[in-house]
Symmetry: C2
């Protein structure tokens, strides 16, 4: 596998996966800080900063950034998540240097013009409004807020209209100086790229990065709880959650396999029991979100008001059953799906660049396909059952519901069923 990694004097890592048969490349800069790296009074700042990166530098106006990359058929975009912020470009082979030049410029030379800032605050207000209007978005905000209350980790990434409007050039600059530093950043590229050339360009264009690390975020503390928002909707959007595992936990891969077996594909238990046997939901799945120090395990379902009473006991029953009778055959299927998913990621420039960057941010090195498969393959049905039993009983459950959710079971009743504490 043609993966190469170099670390520059600033601490910035450059990682590439050359795919010589391709004509295009995906490249990006990943910053190991996101919404949870905000201070309590900075809610929404990580995301606002990501937006403001496209609003002009000392040498390029906002329109020049857009025109320059699109004139060669490329595109740049960015995303803010809980623990990372990424800026990426999708370009043809010859335009990798231009892509990197623009990314370097917007990350180091943004001017945060006051008029641009005010306009962008208004744009984000619209983004917040649309997320609020989308029940299947909004329910996730309620959910993480209940799981990790009073912590940046549990706040909606977009912030609120009020907090976004209170940001200033100084607060943007403060967050940037604190977190956009060499040791916490990775340039990752896959596809038609030349590693040595990219390292040379990166050394040149990112020479001014601070060389010491930024502060680590406050440790996440799972608490659990419940939030519901009555709305006149045809479907109730429901999330039920439990403590999960961090990326560094010995149980991380077990938790991933559990989520896949319980509610990953069409052959998973929840899909079969809830949708195929009972027709109760169109959307039903389980997921496991890992963070660097904690995790969150959950199940999502959407159903009509009249079906909630039948649905919830079935979901709770499946969670319980997972702890007692998940079989080796089911686990083998989940492992096969994860293995195939890993292989397909290796073949996608954008997927691969992101995967490499995350591995380096979390583990300091790329994790090879064989090593990952070995970890997934070492997960047994017994370890999955054991973990399922632990997760549902070790903390107060989290419940979030939007729509006709008046009759939705409450968090304490779920807790008492699973023998879990009612207060964290």
């Amino acid at each position: 596998m043609s993966v190469r990694v170099d670390r520059l004097p600033s601490g910035l890592t450059v990682a590439t996966h050359e795919m010589p048969h391709l004509e295009s490349a995906a490249l990006g800069v990943w910053v190991g800080a996101g919404s949870r790296s905000e201070l309590p009074n900075e809610h929404g700042l990580a995301h606002l900063l990501e937006h403001m990166a496209f609003k002009g530098t000392t040498t390029r106006s906002a329109v020049a950034i857009a025109e320059e990359i699109e004139a060669v058929g490329g595109e740049v975009n960015a995303a803010t998540s809980v623990e990372t912020t990424s800026y990426y470009a999708r370009v043809l082979k010859d335009d990798v240097p231009l892509g990197l030049d623009i990314l370097a410029d917007i990350l180091q030379n943004s001017v945060f013009d006051a008029t641009e800032l005010e306009r962008e605050q208004h744009v984000i207000t619209q983004e917040i409004g649309a997320a609020h209007d989308a029940p299947d978005d909004r329910v996730y905000d309620l959910f993480i807020e209940q799981a990790f209350p009073d912590q940046p980790l549990g706040r909606a990434i977009l912030g609120t209209e009020e907090t976004v409007r209170s940001a200033s050039k100084d607060s943007l600059r403060g967050y940037l100086d604190r977190h956009y530093r060499g040791p916490g950043m990775v340039i990752s590229a896959a596809g038609a790229v030349d590693h040595d050339e990219l390292v040379r360009l990166a050394s040149e264009k990112f020479e001014r990065l601070a060389t010491s690390s930024g502060p680590a975020p406050v440790p996440g503390r799972y608490r659990g709880g419940e939030g519901r928002e009555l709305r006149e909707l045809q479907e109730a959007q429901i999330l039920i959650g439990f403590p999960g595992r961090s990326y560094h936990s010995d149980d991380y891969h077990t938790a991933q396999v559990l989520a896949a077996t319980l509610g990953g594909g069409m052959s998973s238990r929840l899909f079969q029991e809830v949708r195929e046997k009972r027709g109760l939901c169109y959307s039903i799945y389980a997921f496991h979100w890992a963070f660097s120090d904690t995790g969150l395990f959950g199940v999502h379902a959407a159903t009509g008001e009249e079906d909630i009473a039948e649905l919830m006991p079935v979901i709770l029953g499946e969670l319980e059953r997972a702890a007692s009778d998940i079989t080796e055959a089911e686990i083998a299927r989940s492992r096969a799906q994860m293995r195939a998913g890993l292989l397909m990621t290796l073949e996608s420039p954008a997927g691969r660049a992101g995967q490499l960057a995350r591995q380096i941010m979390l583990f300091g090195r790329p994790i090879g396909f064989d090593e990952l498969v070995e970890k997934v393959d070492s997960v047994t049905a017994e370890s999955v059952r054991r973990l399922a039993g632990k997760l549902i009983s070790e903390g107060r459950p989290t419940l979030a519901g939007i729509g006709p959710v008046k009759s939705l079971i409450d968090s304490d009743r779920v807790a008492s069923r699973f023998g879990a504490p009612v207060l964290a």
Copy 2:
């Protein structure tokens, strides 16, 4: 380019793009019939049939279908659109025969069991409810309904709860027999596939397809009109539309370039004027949907109630300006974006398999990259301006809005501004 095409005696076409460097493949069966092929009393039937294909065959139960493909790490899925229905699998190299076997089975041997049908009707009711609850989904249903009223082409693909519940095994069988026929179907695969092997397997597994063509859909007739749904939302979801061009029109590529220039990427006119200069929207873009005999050109925007009054004149102004002053430099940028997009599609197994299938269904042959680029490159600023002027004035505009849209301009006022007819 290693593209190969064979037509079997039944009329079924098999097309492949071998990518020898890959370990995975995407393959699918595309049927040249979708929601617009439904009879007036069959609303939602194309989509229901697509769901029922996964609910059991003469030799496989629903759970067996899911378990068999997922046991090898593959996945199968399907999608229904206005003019096509596709069933596809994503698998590792050695599992292409299994993927094709399952697709052949669910398309030819589904049993449409009565209990399964009843349950799936309930599942789709939930799907309809969720789409109704999502304002940015729902507004598109309103939109196409106004553009093509009283025609299957203008109906929501999902159908309504009532029409879906009225479907029967006989009506499913009727639609299937009418449209799932050799001449209207394409097997397309890209990635780690062997063309000759796939042709051999397809001959064997699809030998019972009817060999004559199914009926063509009723010609689409653009009418225009307006639909608004007042809801208490933070954002108004707005679509404004005009007649577009069919895939076979000489103006098809011009319409695509117009949409990209007016509201494609970040450098497009609408993005720059509406979002970057005025901060009025988070989401703003233009699109052109082509069908086999007609088309629809549109602009989407989402904004708060207080911004509608400023937003709409700006959008209408940009539509008008497009007809008078789009420049060669802008067109060159759109062409570059489309060219790069085509190249990247060539590198993605799933994207490429779908593209090949659509080309064969529409034009009877794969269209090479050079031929496509030549067509895109022949589009001039003059032709884009001329087409923009025609589109906005040749038919009654279509307006759709959901949310706080009481003050939204009406369709007739847009018509009179552009000198368009107020009644189709």
